[in-house]
């Protein structure tokens, strides 16, 4: 992964996380859970991408 790709990933994943967080207050129960699950998955994927970049030579 290049630094450019990483920047793109951080930008777009954080954008969706922020947008999803804004939807939480108005979300009803099944959608609320679904959003949270997707947000957790997204955060982990981003953390993994950052860690992989950190480990890369």
């Amino acid at each position: 992964m290049t630094l450019d790709d990483l920047i793109h990933d951080v930008n777009s994943k954080c954008s969706s996380l922020k947008d999803a967080a804004k939807l939480l207050p108005a979300a009803a129960e099944p959608e609320y859970r679904e959003l949270l699950t997707l947000m957790v998955r997204q955060s982990r994927a981003l953390a993994d991408a950052l860690a992989a970049f950190e480990r890369a030579p």
């Binding site: 450019d4 790709d5 920047i7 793109h8 990933d9 930008n11 777009s12 994943k13 954080c14 954008s15 969706s16 996380l17 922020k18 947008d19 999803a20 804004k22 939807l23 979300a27 959608e31 679904e34 959003l35 997707l38 947000m39 998955r41 997204q42």
Partner: protein, 448 residues
């Protein structure tokens, strides 16, 4: 709101979910990768498609190849990307995309994109200049086009121009082309005292002041998600400007007597016939307030400077009524008139024309009706014509009222050979008022 058929090509499941919520009022199909996106575009059943550029297939910009495909099928394509470098934006537009935004704040992004799409579609369907804002003047058309270009944005617009040139109409057209979900709410700032204007704009709670027996939702709240049109903005006091500036900047405000803040996201369009720079120089308009309301300034010319609009305006305003035909001389008369009341005067002329004239309009009929309109205009404006208004703006209302009463008293004295008792009884005034006027007249005469 119109239900649209929309395609979203996005590999990120969370972003797809966010888009699903934002587009819940429309019929939406989702594609997770370039190949399924391609298949759905080829089905040709979508009016609009949102394309992510990086579709998780290792290619940095696989979404790019979908742009020409969508363009070829007449689909309004929108690129949403985490990359917003100049080269990427340029390439996307070069391939034929219609819109581009950087990811983040989708609630506002998606709304604006749909507004721009509807605006473009609407613009293609109707010609604004033959239906909504009648003008054939190239300069005025350019001004209106420029304003409509920014209609879907949040940019505040300041409309300048003499009375009756169509400032309110233009504000309404901009709102209608903005795609904003809220209402068009207009208020004439000069029609209210400072306290009343504050109550009208901000609203008030029951019992906020004597006479507030019920609560009142103010114009700011009524314009939520819509447009707040502030006419005659130059007459707004500095105190009100400060208060309104805060509400515009923070999108929140306190109604009178309330300790609970209300939020409202309105777009501001304002208008004035005054010279704004002079108002700022004279300390009558705050510079920061001016900066906040004049994202774009549009100046409408007086009708006397765009005579080519007179006949099209008469035709448009008379549409739906009796079909009229003007003799060539009658047309010359219309074009020779200066129309000091601008479009408002034309409107009145057409009303009179439709009410009383034969189908074929002669120059004599035109002369007669113009005289009637002028007489009406004169009667209506005798107490507040342009000169009086300018004088009051420069010297204050009290000075204008003094000048007005002095002139009436002087005329009364002239017509009654200086007999004060006669003037007192005819004008029904007190001795105190008469002598105050005489003192002012003497003061003026004694000034070097």
């Amino acid at each position: 709101m119109q239900k649209l058929s929309i395609l979203v090509v996005e590999d990120d499941p969370l972003a797809r979910k966010v888009m699903a919520v934002q587009l819940k009022d429309h019929a939406v199909d989702f594609a997770e990768n370039a190949s399924s996106g391609r298949a759905l575009i080829e089905s040709g059943r979508h009016a609009l498609c949102f394309l992510d550029l990086q579709l998780g297939d290792g290619d940095n910009a696989s979404g790019m190849e979908l742009i020409p495909l969508a363009a070829a099928r007449g689909i309004y394509s929108v690129v949403m990307s985490g990359h917003d470098g100049e080269a990427v934006v340029e390439r996307a537009y070069g391939l034929g995309c219609d819109d581009f935004y950087s990811k983040g704040n989708e609630a506002s992004n998606v709304g604006s994109v749909i507004a721009r799409y509807l605006n473009k579609k609407e613009g293609a369907k109707t010609d604004v200049f033959s239906e909504r804002f009648i003008t054939e003047d190239p300069e005025t058309r350019a001004c209106v086009k420029e304003a409509l270009k920014y209609a879907p944005s949040e940019l505040p617009i300041l409309i300048l121009g003499p009375s009756g040139t169509g400032k309110t109409n233009l504000a309404r057209v901009i709102h209608d082309y903005s795609g904003r979900a809220g209402a068009f709410v207009a208020i004439n700032c000069s029609a209210y005292t400072e306290d009343l204007l504050e109550a009208e704009l901000f609203g008030y709670k029951k019992g906020a002041f004597t006479g507030a027996n019920d609560g009142h939702k103010g114009k700011l709240l009524a314009a939520d998600q819509g447009t707040l049109f502030l006419d005659e903005i130059g007459s707004m006091s500095l105190k009100m400007q400060t208060k309104l500036l805060k509400a515009i900047e923070e999108h929140s405000f306190y109604p009178l007597g309330s300790d609970r803040a209300e939020t409202s996201r309105f777009r501001v369009i304002s208008a004035t016939l005054e010279d704004v720079q002079s108002l700022i120089k004279a300390g009558k308009m705050r510079f920061d307030f001016f900066q906040r309301i004049h994202g774009l300034s549009v100046e409408l010319k007086a009708l006397a400077r765009r005579k080519g609009d007179v006949l099209p305006l008469i035709a448009a305003l008379g549409r739906g009524g009796k079909r009229l035909s003007f003799t060539p001389e009658a047309k010359q008369r219309l074009l020779g008139h200066d129309w000091p009341g601008n479009v408002r005067e034309v409107k009145r002329f057409v009303e009179l024309l439709a009410a009383g004239e034969d189908g074929r309009v002669t120059p004599e009929a035109v002369d007669h009706l113009l005289k009637t309109v002028r007489a009406e205009h004169g009667t209506l404006s005798a107490f507040a014509n342009e000169e009086h208004y300018r004088f009051a703006l420069e010297n204050g209302l009290a000075a204008a009222v003094d000048r007005f009463s002095d002139e009436l008293i002087r005329r009364g004295l002239d017509e009654n050979e200086g007999k004060k008792t006669k003037v007192l009884s005819e004008l029904k005034i007190s001795t105190r008022l008469l002598y105050a006027a005489l003192a002012r007249m003497r003061g003026k005469r004694s000034k070097p």
